[in-house]
């Protein structure tokens, strides 16, 4: 499987995601934001970080980059797109995913490990979570509070387009275990065709037992399997 990682000025997690993808035999290429052509890729990744310092609105300025047109075309052709954290914010600003990511409820940056329930395992990103669908991944963000109008939320729930929800260690989905106030405890969503995944947690940070955990590995194993 071939992947392109889009690097914006201020992206921070490009190296981390590249390491995770390569570990699971997905080749990677870094693509600078003002390129006009995407190399041949099965997967496009929008990594985490603070593109453009999160100035004006997070993900907003990156969504106006030259390369985004190509990323949109890639998705129209059915190509896979993975947006992590700032990448999720950029997907939303681009309009490839619905809703908005607001400031965390407590108005503070929050970096900690959280429990997640994998709600939809029938997509190319999450298929390997069938064997373990209550996982722990780190979050690190200031604007992870997913919000959409009731109509959109109902649609996401009904069409099974929610990939991850925040929960307790037993999988119980509860406001008490929602770290940022996001609607319906949403931590990650898919588009209609399930070829685009946007998620706030960082799977690329949990792929090594010494660094205390491998719950991120299953996402990359799923991707590798899917080609």
């Amino acid at each position: 499987m071939k992947s392109s990682i889009i690097v914006f000025p201020g992206s921070n997690c490009d190296r981390d995601i590249s390491i995770a993808l390569e570990k699971f035999k997905i080749t990677t290429q870094m693509v600078w934001h003002n390129e006009t052509k995407l190399p041949k890729s099965d997967l496009v990744v929008l990594p985490g970080g603070f593109s453009y310092g999160d100035y004006l609105r997070t993900g907003c300025i990156a969504s106006k980059s030259m390369i985004i047109k190509e990323v949109v075309n890639h998705s129209k052709k059915g190509g896979l797109i993975l947006g992590i954290c700032n990448g999720f914010q950029i997907l939303i600003e681009t309009g490839l995913l619905p809703g908005v990511l607001l400031r965390n409820k407590k108005l503070r940056f929050l970096s900690k490990n959280v429990n997640l329930k994998v709600i939809n395992v029938e997509n190319q990103f999450c298929v390997n979570y069938k064997k373990k669908n209550i996982i722990e991944l780190p979050i690190a963000h200031n604007e992870g509070n997913y919000f959409a109008d009731q109509k959109t939320l109902n649609h996401l729930e009904d069409k099974n387009l929610i990939a991850f929800k925040y929960c307790d260690k037993n999988g119980k989905i509860d406001r008490d275990y929602n770290p940022n106030g996001s609607s319906n405890n949403i931590a990650g969503i898919l588009n209609e065709n399930k070829n685009i995944l946007g998620m706030m947690p960082h799977p690329e940070r949990l792929i090594d037992p010494i660094l205390s955990g491998e719950d991120g590995s299953m996402l990359f194993e799923s991707l590798n399997k899917s080609v």
Binding site: Y52, Y55, L56, K64
Partner: protein
């Protein structure tokens, strides 16, 4: 009565956000833009009919809370 307060960074202070918005607009093709400064806008509705009293109150809250006087300025407008 509605009074608005606009809070902006002081003239000599670096505005990182304004700088990036300016550059992005240029990249989007708006070559005539000279500079952009970013600020905050507060619309305050007060239960008060006396214009002067209302203005004085908003001055006070701008100084005490809305603006960080170390690096920000504020201006006040009476809305209709």
């Amino acid at each position: 009565m509605k009074i608005s307060a606009t809070v902006t960074l002081k003239k000599d202070v670096l505005d990182p956000q304004g700088k990036v918005v300016n550059q992005t607009l240029k990249n989007m093709g708006y070559k005539n833009i000279i500079s952009v400064r970013q600020g905050k806008f507060f619309e305050i509705e007060i239960n008060e009919t006396n214009k002067d009293k209302a203005k004085k109150m908003v001055e006070e809250i701008s100084k005490k809370l809305l603006a960080n006087l170390v690096i920000e300025d504020y201006s006040i407008n009476i809305e209709k």
